[in-house]
Amino acid sequence: MPFSLVDLLQALSAGLLVGGTYALMCIGLGIIFGSMRVINFAQGDFLMLGMYAAFYLTTGFGVLAFLGPYAGPIIAAFLAGPLVFLIGWILHRFIVSRVTGAGVAQIEGAGAYGQIIVTLGISLILQNGGLIVFGSTPTGIRTPLSRSSWEIGDVLLNQGRCVSFVVAIALAAAVYLFLTHTRLGKGLRAAADNSQAALYMGIDVDRAHRIAWSLGVGITAVAGGLLASSQTFQPYVGFDFVIVMYAGVVLGGLGSILGAFWGGLLIGVVQQMSTLVLPYQLQNTTIFVVFLLIIFLRPQGIFGRLSERT
């Protein structure tokens, strides 16, 4: 083997830690894709918004300075959620809802074109608007945590990533419970399974979609906020994560929230493990390869199911 056991454990733990945040952002995308069947190209840019929101809340305005360097970034990441939720809500209300939803689904094929253009347009606006507002210099949130590590044997665990991991898993669990155990969450899932039937059963599908969309971008933004303290970013960072998210969601099975979680986690592990055997630049290529393998070998994903009738 070209690498040692310690390297292996190091990569595995790093993969799991980063995978926790990936899992959270995948859930965000999974909620949107699962309920609306829209390919959202702007998802990565909402992640970017979450990063900048956390950044400014932590450092820029000093509002959270009194919470200290430890709790500050975490709280900031959480606050990024509602902020981006609100932006998502407005975008859905005025733009996205006009090309999605039960009414549009009726037109065979024609609906999908509009959706793709609109999310691409939103993506362009957010990226380039971000460039205007935030500037192009890469930034990051520096916390004492992200510069120190715990040692378990010879394996180093970055403290900042550990905290992000725990928070991400906790939030993911909360979202899962919300979707499976509350009335609103069940309504969202019903609208996802069959929007026509849900419509007839008195569920306001348009509203359900709006909630799903806003919730999805909000959750992904929190994941972005959590990542912001362990990596640098600029307004175009979102795209790197679009593939991570789609790979995770497809891996788990389109439409399955639990699947999105495990898919995201696995993608993190694959990405980090690949650095053991492949040059660093190719770690994203590994994701694509895994992604392609999944869709070829098991397109329904780990948790998904296929259903088609002739």
């Binding site: 347009g121 380039n128 190719l282 070829f296």
Partner: protein, 592 residues
Amino acid sequence: MRTRAEIKRQRWAIAGFALAVLLLSLMLKSAYYQLVLTQVLLWAVLSLAWNLLSGYGGYFSFGHAAFWGLGAYTVALGMIHFGLTPWLTIPLCALVGSAAGAIIGYPTFRLRGHYFALAMLAYPLAMLYVFEWLGYQELALPMQREAPAFYMQFADQRVYVALALGLLVLSLLISLRVENSRFGMALLAIKQNEPAAEAAGINTWRWKMLALMLSGALGAMAGGLYAVVLLVITPETVFGMLVSAQALILALFGGVGSLWGPVIGAMVLVPLAEGLNAELGDVLPGIQGVVYGIAIIAIILCAPEGVYWRVLDRLPRRKPAAPEQPARMPATIVPLPRERAGATGKDLLVLRGIGIAFGGLRALDGVDLIVPEGGLYGIIGPNGAGKTTLFNVINGFLTPDSGTVSFAGSALTGLLPNQVCRRGIGRTFQVVRAFARMTVLENVVVGAFVGTADDAVAARMALAALDRVGLGGRAEAVASGLTTRELRLMELARALVSQPRLILLDETLAGLGHDDLGGILDVVRQLRTDGTTVVIIEHTMQAMVQLVDHFTVLDHGRLIADGKPDDVVRDPRVIEAYLGKRWVEQVASRAN
């Protein structure tokens, strides 16, 4: 498909467009504007390439940057490492692009819908990282001062305009050709209902692969010329997401699945983006992206189907020109049904021990079935008995876990539906599978391609088939506007137009009122008279008893009775399966 006069008009339109671009290029003074014009033309080519596969065939590609980038790198690397001239490498790009299309298509066409689109997204991005890793971060084409023309390096930008225009005209002519041939019809049919296209004898795999390879070839050539024009390429600028996005944005903006849509999109959006970049790029970096984003959203909210289709809808409608071919072919021209042995009693279709399971559910379990040639054979059974599954096994949608299917003496097991159709088995579907946006005639023409290599003959056969089912008067109606009865008849015509020896009818009578039933029953009887063997599935017995001359009853995936209709309906097991025990008792008491 257009008439010949319309095709001619389109050719003139292309010529006029080319002339206008040349004139414009002569009038433009600044080299910068020439460059923008060149880019407009090249992006239009990429978008047309995208449109071939995704616009006509409906397989959405988010990854056309793969072809563009491979083309650009072929030209750049060829010149840097081997001193090859673009005059040679750009045609070579066509080979590279179509090879890439074949390699990508081979695994990827097993996917559909969102999965296909997402898989396509991954290819160019994976290539992007690979080319970066290989150390090709930035490639500059070396200036060739010795023989600039030989290396396609011109001081006068107008030469590039002419070259790009040549490529665009080529793409337009190819698209026009595809649109008006069975290639285009097959793609449209695939887009609207792939299983139906397959069952009607369209080799969907072949046409999809051809579309992707052609698309890849055009995209790679455009990418190659792009490298020559821009002189510097990076993985990000040729494999990046923006390239793939550009290809589809231009087509969606201009009008998907139309000849001129991608061109319109490129003419409007490319100069807009370039202009914004030049005017505002220094003052406020990023503003051009914002304005571009707002522009495409605004347009798509106003005209979701794209500019071309919206304008076309607004224009006063041209009266549909009288069809060139004599539209109402008298029935006598119909090639008479081949002389058949009639009810020879020879076994035409033989099923032995067919079994298939979906997960834990045994949908079919040891089914043996022998259909003699020339008969009208009925299969009945309650819902969920496995009737449609049986048809899907026969026509190749499903491969049985065990057992064999043979037809006219040769095995069918393992063949694709279109191959089964070619062997002479037509079918209809329980839920009508129409190509909703095509006319009735076009729907049937798709089915006729199996029977003839000549598209004009296919059209005549389709008209004849429509006359046979009594739908001749509705040939020009769009399928989505038909009644259930008309849809059933249209599907029937599509199944019989290729003159199959065996037709499988899946609940053709379902959902029809009493009055509508008669017409269809007549057509089915006529089929038998003409010598075609018919197997029909129903779950209502009544109509069937009068119609068929042999009955098979399926229940829970097993064959429970087989014989003459009168005998079968009296079989207590059948009555029990069908109507429950109480009926059996009732019948028994009545008999006494």
